[in-house]
């Protein structure tokens, strides 16, 4: 039987008067891979930020059955939740190695270096270079590597494929598949494009539109749903 790792209940996020998310409920199971699809402004990043405790929200978030609403972000990281954001939250003046080491600040340790370099051998070559000098693809690897340093039980990735060349995205998808095989980690990705990297990595998905969940199901079947065709293609 599948054991529940993350449960989000009736979650809403408001920025002042503006609604980013309303009434979101979803679940992520142990050793599973989920994706949340949504176009620009649909509230994908707000969902991840709320789960990490980076933005105030209404509703409830449970991790391994425990309510974590009152926990600050660093305590959620200590429990085993990790978020690889888009590139802006790296430390550009620090070396690749320092960025990775900071990922193990709360949990994990230096021994995780080997694992990360095993997934991304390219990073070992540039480990002494400052992250700000690297290309977007490399920075994305640092971002995922840093999140992996804490040995997370839930790894969330915000728009893995954004701004990257298709070859790089393909390579990252392969690494994610490898991580799923070798680590006891569940994945929660958010993506704009249906049938992008997530269709390779994830089996189940949700679709967000204007802050509400409008569909869920197997990734390959999502595009068949009328509501998804309307949201993405403007046809029903």
């Amino acid at each position: 039987m599948e054991r529940e790792l993350l449960r989000v209940e009736d979650l809403s996020v408001y920025y002042g008067e503006v609604r980013a998310l309303e009434g979101i409920s979803l679940r992520v199971f142990e050793n599973s891979a989920m994706v949340v699809f949504g176009s620009n402004g649909s509230g994908k990043s707000s969902l991840l930020k709320a789960i990490m405790g980076l933005v105030p929200y209404q509703g409830k978030v449970f991790f391994k059955g425990k309510n974590i609403d009152s926990l600050e972000t660093h305590k959620r990281v200590a429990l085993g939740i990790s978020l690889a954001t888009d590139l802006k939250n790296l430390f550009p003046y620090m070396s690749v190695e320092e960025n990775l080491l900071l990922g193990a600040y709360r949990r994990g340790g230096r021994e995780r270096f080997e694992k990360v370099y095993e997934y991304f051998p390219e990073l070992f070559e540039v480990r002494k270079r400052r992250v700000g000098e690297l290309s977007g693809g490399y920075q994305r690897m640092v971002s995922i590597g840093r999140a992996l340093m804490s040995s997370p039980e839930l790894l969330m990735i915000d728009e893995l494929s954004l701004g990257l060349a298709p070859k790089v995205v393909e390579r990252l998808a392969q690494v994610l598949l490898e991580i799923r095989k070798k680590e006891e980690v569940s994945l929660l990705l958010v993506e704009q494009e249906i049938y992008d990297v997530s269709s390779v990595v994830c089996s189940h998905g949700y679709v967000l539109d204007l802050g509400r969940l409008v569909a869920q199901g197997k990734v390959k079947e999502l595009l068949e749903k009328d509501v998804v065709r309307r949201v993405y293609l403007g046809i029903a």
Binding site: L54, V77, T85, N89, P92, R106, G132, S150
Partner: protein, 290 residues
């Protein structure tokens, strides 16, 4: 030529001290994002504490450590009481509130010590060493060596320890730091404690180098502001460069134009820097950081 070299030697010795003087100010600015206009009054507290304790017969080296501890706990207390609340305020409110704190501390010092000019004097530091034709005043040399030593310690702490890396991470990206599991509140506590520790520690040196009154805090804050603007925020090396820039400016304008014009020149250059190179003479442009 001899005069120019002597002025450069003086500037070199003074620049190291200015770097230490500004290190705490830079730490609070970089990590908490607060411009603390009361910083100079904490340096003065350090100078008066050194003066008072030394008068009471305490060994000067012991006084330095007492200042370090006093500053540490004062910084911790101040962070909990004031700075954490100020983080939610707009920049102008922060400037006004820290300015108010500066006035309060200056007047409290005046109440206890009166407005006379004081200084800390140590036996054996009165004379000078001679390097050929050039003079190296013993007091300035000692302060320079200790300042550079403590700047080096600060550099090693920030670069090679877990907590130091956390402080640097918070100064670069607060969200990124939280995602690494860094506790922002604890990092702010440590930064403020360390900053005020450095302020009071360098205050003892300030008292060794020159006379002071309770109302000098504005001048001191101006100096550290200059060092941070000239060097640029975010790196310990920048403090040394900013410190030397200020010292060179003061030494040369003081000699060629007149002692009374030193601050005017520093202000003029500060104005030009803010207008044309707000990221510092040696600093990195903000858009290059992204």
């Amino acid at each position: 030529m001899e005069v120019i070299l002597q002025l450069l030697i003086n500037a070199f010795l003074l620049g190291g001290f200015y770097a230490l003087l500004a290190s705490g100010f830079s730490l609070i600015w970089g990590v908490l994002g607060l411009i603390n206009l009361a910083y100079g009054s904490f340096v003065l507290l350090g100078a008066y504490s050194a003066y008072f304790l030394h008068q009471k017969g305490f060994n000067f080296w012991l006084v330095l450590f007492i200042n370090l501890f006093l500053g540490f706990f004062l910084g911790l207390f101040l962070n909990r009481l004031l700075f954490l609340r100020l983080l939610r305020f707009e920049a102008l409110s922060v400037l006004l509130l820290t300015f108010g704190l500066d006035v309060l501390i200056s007047n409290l010092i005046n109440l206890f010590f009166k407005g006379d000019v004081r200084s800390v004097s140590l036996e054996g530091l009165g004379g000078s060493f001679f390097l050929g034709e050039y003079i190296l005043p013993k007091g300035r040399l000692l302060v320079f060596v200790l300042s550079v030593f403590f700047i080096l310690l600060l550099y090693l702490f920030l670069k090679h320890t877990k907590e130091g890396r956390a402080i640097r991470a918070v100064s670069m990206d607060r969200v990124g730091a939280q995602l690494c599991g860094i506790d922002l509140g604890r990092t702010y506590d440590l930064s403020s404690a360390l900053a005020h520790s450095l302020a009071m520690f360098s205050g003892a040196f300030y008292g060794l180098l020159q006379g002071f009154t309770p109302f000098d805090s504005g001048f001191i804050t101006l100096k550290v502001f200059f060092v941070c603007i000239a060097g640029g925020l975010g790196r310990v090396e920048a403090l040394l460069l900013g410190g030397f820039a200020l010292a060179v400016l003061e030494q040369f304008s003081g000699f060629y134009v007149g002692e009374g014009y030193k601050s005017a020149f520093a202000l003029l250059v500060l104005f030009l820097l803010l207008a044309f190179r707000p990221y510092g003479i040696f600093g990195v442009r903000l858009h290059e950081r992204a």
